[in-house]
């Protein structure tokens, strides 16, 4: 008999009881929105070296946090010979209540072109702090089979600061400077 994973069930239940969750764009939609002239996107994900990590921390004034970064290069024309329009860097940030996936469009000169939120999810602080709760979302998109409520209502309330996203963008700007700049 196949054992039932009670932990997974409990996590799924608590995650779906989260009041606020919205999907704005899939990774593919974000690529199109940020580089409408692109004819193709190529996975050029990064593995930062120890030296690059140090440079990123120095530039951003923040811990580099991760060695691996998901990056797509946007091209017009042939993926090898065509012109490079820029990059799309993907990231997730975790706040006190919220988990936000976002995409940053970077120009070839490493300047920031645009930022788009992909998904926004909220839950209780204790769920956000649980690595298992976060793990089920991080790096996923709707295409990966994640379904979240209708997400149509708009939330009104005290302003929730987006410091984590702002810091994340600063870190990505530094990574672009160190590892993507042409």
């Amino acid at each position: 008999m196949k054992p039932i994973n009670l932990t997974a069930l409990a996590l799924a239940a608590s995650a779906s009881s989260s009041a606020f969750a919205t999907q704005y764009l899939t990774v593919e939609q974000a690529q199109q929105v940020m580089f409408p002239d692109a004819t193709g996107f190529r996975d050029v994900s990064l593995q930062l070296t120890g030296e690059q990590m140090k440079q990123v921390e120095k530039l951003a004034g923040l811990p580099a946090r991760s060695v691996a970064w998901r990056v797509f290069a946007a091209y017009k024309g042939d993926a090898q010979l065509g012109s490079l329009l820029g990059y799309v860097v993907l990231d997730d940030v975790i706040g006190k209540f919220e988990l936000i996936s976002y995409a940053v469009a970077v120009n070839p000169d490493a300047s920031i072109k645009q930022i788009e939120i992909l998904t926004y999810r909220e839950s209780h602080g204790f769920e956000i702090k649980s690595p298992a709760w976060r793990k089920q979302f991080v790096g996923k998109t709707a295409a990966a089979g994640l379904s979240i409520g209708d997400g149509i209502a708009s939330i009104s309330g005290a302003t929730l600061s987006c410091t984590h996203v702002t810091d994340g963008v600063r870190r990505i700007a530094a990574i672009a400077q160190v590892a993507l700049k042409k």
């Binding site: 989260s18 009041a19 606020f20 919205t22 704005y24 764009l25 929105v33 409408p36 209540f97 936000i100 976002y102 645009q114 930022i115 788009e116 939120i117 926004y120 909220e122 839950s123 209780h124 997400g151 149509i152 209502a153 708009s154 939330i155 009104s156 309330g157 005290a158 302003t159 929730l160 600061s161 987006c162 410091t163 996203v165 702002t166 963008v169």
Partner: protein, 281 residues
């Protein structure tokens, strides 16, 4: 229903378009809406050294500055709101927020905070003429955090209307406005459990803003503080309620939440004057 969100004004700004526009037309409308928000951010950010707000904070007493028409609109509304609320609503509370660590220290800030109201007994700290020339008459440190988000929402709504969008919603971290024939579902956070829904209803052709201190409360040097400052006595608003104001424009709704929160009166006589209604949860 198409929906996009970008980080601006220190929060997430969400634009929802409820219209069967072509993909290309919707993309242009989103660009126009976020473009307006970005412009307000650049002009009115406390943190950006090149913003009008930073220039006002840095300029010497006695000097004058030409400010952008958008900044002038918000500053005039803020000064007017300060006058009609007898100083309860005050953009000159930034020095308190600096003191409590909510805002970074600006370069020049000697002889700070008396608040706009206290100056007004003798003369106002700031004066703007009809051409957008601002004069600084007394030391003052301003932050438009209590009104600029609402204005940015109005500016984005104007941009969407100008782009021919029939119905839309713009939400800047809780300050929102909807227009068109579509009724938009709105959820208000429960101030005692902010990740839960406290109230849910549909909103059509109106603006709504909610203020509360639940996300910004913290202890600073043993004292409970928040990002909401009482304009007259300079104390922090620390409680577990939230105030929601509905008004025709979001800038008005945003500013009036502070009046209701500080007066604790959801039937304050000034609300009617601005065509607004309020409730406390």
């Amino acid at each position: 229903m198409r929906r996009r969100a970008q980080p601006w004004l220190g929060t997430l700004v969400e634009v929802t378009i409820a219209d069967t526009l072509s993909e290309a037309a919707a993309a242009l409308a989103f660009d126009a809406a976020f473009g307006a928000i970005a412009e307000v951010h650049r002009l009115m950010s406390y943190h950006d050294a090149a913003s009008d707000v930073s220039k006002i904070n840095q300029m010497a007493v006695g000097s004058a500055l030409q400010i952008h028409a958008r900044t002038a609109t918000v500053m005039r509304a803020a000064l007017d709101m300060n006058a009609v609320t007898d100083g309860l609503f005050d953009i000159a509370c930034a020095s308190r927020l600096v003191e409590w660590g909510y805002l970074p220290r600006a370069g020049l800030e000697s002889g700070l905070h008396q608040g706009l109201a206290r100056h007004q007994r003798n003369r106002p700290a700031l004066h703007i003429d009809a051409d957008g020339n601002l004069q600084k008459l007394a030391p003052v440190l301003i932050d438009l955090g209590g009104i600029a988000k609402g204005y940015a929402v109005d500016a984005a709504i104007d941009a969407l209307q100008a782009s021919g969008v029939a119905a839309a919603c713009v939400n800047a971290g809780g300050d929102l406005r909807v227009y068109g024939e579509t009724a938009f579902p709105i959820m208000i956070r429960d101030p005692r459990a902010p990740t839960q829904i406290g109230f849910r209803f549909d909103l059509k052709d109106a603006a709504l803003a909610t203020s509360g201190s639940y996300f910004s409360q913290r202890t600073v040097q043993g004292q409970p503080r928040s990002a909401l400052v009482h304009g007259v006595d300079g104390s922090a608003v620390v409680n577990n309620i939230s105030v929601t104001v509905q008004a025709p424009a979001c800038m008005t709704a945003d500013a009036l939440t502070k009046l209701v929160l500080l007066s604790a009166d959801p039937r304050h006589p000034l609300l009617q004057q601005f065509g607004a209604t309020a409730f406390i949860i």
